[in-house]
């Protein structure tokens, strides 16, 4: 990202329900679990993450988005790897 891009990033009114496309590979914080499945809440959208480690909550993981429903702002994806952890 160029220095100019860094200054220009975020000059917009962002939705509280961001949407993604199948095929996207995104980094997210795992924010909780629904039963045995890890879940990442991104704003007020929800991504279910299959095959995540049992201790994935509060870690940052790379996820391949498999499905996404733009009307309910929910989707599912597959865990690829853990890339970071909580800031605290």
């Amino acid at each position: 990202m160029s220095a100019l891009d860094k200054f220009l990033a975020g000059w917009s009114f962002r939705s509280s329900t961001p949407d993604y496309e199948p095929g996207d590979a995104i980094e997210v914080m795992v924010t909780g679990r629904e039963g045995d499945t890890a879940v990442a809440r991104i704003g007020d959208s929800t991504l279910r993450i299959e095959d995540a480690p049992a201790d994935a909550v509060n870690t940052r993981v790379l996820v391949a988005v498999d499905t996404w429903d733009g009307s309910t702002h929910t989707g599912s994806g597959t865990y690829r790897e853990t890339v970071g952890e909580s800031a605290f």
């Binding site: 990033a9 509280s16 961001p18 995104i26 997210v28 924010t31 704003g43 509060n58």
Partner: protein
């Protein structure tokens, strides 16, 4: 650090009184800080250190079983990377800021005001811009306030500017720099506690700062023509201190900002700025070698021929590098104690209990989460008026609440720092207001030197710190409308990428 603060983790320290008792050290410290800084108006960081030490000791008496676990947790907290990163950045920033000061940066800015032929009506607006530039260069709003109230404020009042508006404009400039400067202590804390690189944070913060600063500048122009003071015909006093060469430190400042925003580590960015600043100081004769670094000995000898060795009454080390770094020592000790108290809260379960309450009852969607973050930082900064201490105390909650909605680290850092910077210079008991007021009162103060019109009642200043108020309003509006919001998937911090 592991996910010990998560709701799923079992508390490792057991307290009499349950998990809430683990909040006792930090809770006691906050009460101490409110009493000391808010009630008594004592802005002494060393005093807060004692409050933190006593709070830590008090908490130990409530531990069930072996107290060794509690003691170990103090060390565990202190050795976290977040504390070490802030400490390193502060030491470098302190050296840089002090070197700009001895290099005549303030006097250069006064020269600019004189050259632009600033009059009484436009003086507050000029003070806002120039103090903002100084604070952005040296990173400390407190330092910029003291410098500008000492040198710029009397000159403005003497040519007829409103003292209240002028003091408020200086405080607004301090807010701007404290908020935006890469070498600012609050900028550094906001970035490192949210896992974001400092240069990226500064770039992402610019949009909020400018949206607040432009209307603030216009407001100072308008109010400057509506409010005026008694003209004391003292423009000559302004010219006495003005010297042009100090303005070259705009380049030193630019070097730090440009290299930090370009993605270089903050230690590298400030080191380059320091090299350039020392080069200007020595090359242009802005300061002597001994202004930058001096060893003072009590007896003359062959070594005293060296430019950085002097003879004095007591043996010591001094200079801008020394005083700049030393100035941060109290804050460094305090930071180590605050992060260890926070760790006790995490290991005792109190942190998770408060977090769950907030997430289940207050921050139930992303908009409410961001409003909670904005109001939470505002509340704690209204109470603890030494703003960096307040910021460190609230930072873990901003991180966790934000992460629960995948709010990007840059956005979290910006929410955390806006109120920290703004409220530290608005209320009459705020540290930034008090340091400026101290210059006006007392036997050697401006009031004694020039007369009572040079002393401003801090309460009168509150409504006119426009940039501070506008920054709070911008962030409340941003939380509600989503302006500037970024999520974790949008982009990754560069420092994290490098790790």
């Amino acid at each position: 650090m592991d996910a010990g603060g998560g709701s799923e983790a079992e508390p490792r320290i057991s307290f009499y009184g349950g998990k809430w008792a683990s909040t006792l050290p930090l809770g006691f410290f906050i009460l101490w800080a409110v009493f000391q800084s808010g009630v008594l108006g004592i802005g002494d960081t060393n005093g807060l250190v004692i409050g933190a030490l006593i709070g830590t000791i008090l908490g130990m008496f409530f531990v069930r079983g072996d107290w060794k676990t509690y003691a170990d947790t103090i060390f565990e907290g202190m050795t976290q990377r977040v504390a070490a990163t802030a400490i390193v950045a502060w030491l470098w920033a302190g050296m840089f800021a002090e070197t700009l000061q001895v290099g005549g940066f303030v006097e250069g800015l006064i020269f600019a005001a004189d050259a632009l032929n600033v009059g009484a009506a436009t003086f507050p607006a000029a003070a806002f811009v120039l103090c903002g530039l100084l604070a952005t260069g040296i990173g400390t709003g407190y330092g910029a306030t003291v410098a500008f109230v000492t040198l710029f404020f009397p000159a403005g009042v003497l040519i007829g500017a409103s003292p209240v508006l002028l003091f408020a404009a200086i405080l607004s400039g301090a807010v701007f720099g404290d908020n935006l400067a890469p070498v600012s202590d609050t900028t550094i804390v906001s970035a490192v506690t949210q896992d974001a690189d400092i240069g990226g944070v500064v770039a992402s913060r610019f949009k909020y700062a400018i949206v607040a600063a432009v209307p603030a500048f216009v407001a100072y122009l308008i109010m400057g023509s509506m409010l005026s003071g008694a003209s004391l015909e003292g423009a000559a006093a302004l010219r006495d201190t003005a010297t042009a060469p100090g303005l070259v430190h705009l380049v030193s400042m630019g070097v730090v900002i440009a290299t930090a925003v370009a993605g270089r580590h903050i230690v590298e960015a400030i080191s380059w700025g320091l090299v350039v600043a020392v080069g200007f100081n020595l090359g242009l004769g802005l300061s002597s070698v001994s202004d930058v670094l001096v060893f003072t000995v009590t007896e003359a000898g062959t070594v005293t021929a060296l430019p950085f060795v002097a003879v004095g009454d007591t043996a010591s080390v001094g200079g801008s590098l020394y005083t700049g770094a030393i100035g941060f020592f109290p804050l460094i000790v305090l930071t180590l104690l605050i992060v260890s108290m926070a760790q006790i809260m995490i290991r005792g379960g109190g942190f998770a209990a408060i977090q769950e309450f907030l997430l289940n009852s207050v921050a139930t969607n992303v908009r409410r989460a961001e409003v909670t973050m904005v109001l939470g930082t505002a509340a704690i900064n209204g109470m603890i008026t030494i703003n960096t201490a307040a910021e460190i105390a609230i930072a873990p909650y901003i991180a966790r609440i934000g992460e629960k909605f995948n709010i990007n680290g840059y956005r979290r850092a910006n929410i955390l720092d806006a109120n920290t910077s703004a409220l530290g210079y608005i209320f009459p008991w705020a540290g930034g207001v008090l340091v400026g007021y101290q210059v006006m009162v007392g036997p050697d103060g401006l009031g004694a030197e020039y007369g009572p019109e040079m002393v401003v009642n801090p309460i009168e200043v509150v409504p006119y710190v426009f940039h501070g108020w506008f920054l709070v309003i911008v962030f409340l509006a941003a939380a509600v409308t989503g302006f500037g919001r970024e999520y974790v998937p949008d982009r990754t911090s560069e420092e994290v990428s490098r790790a």
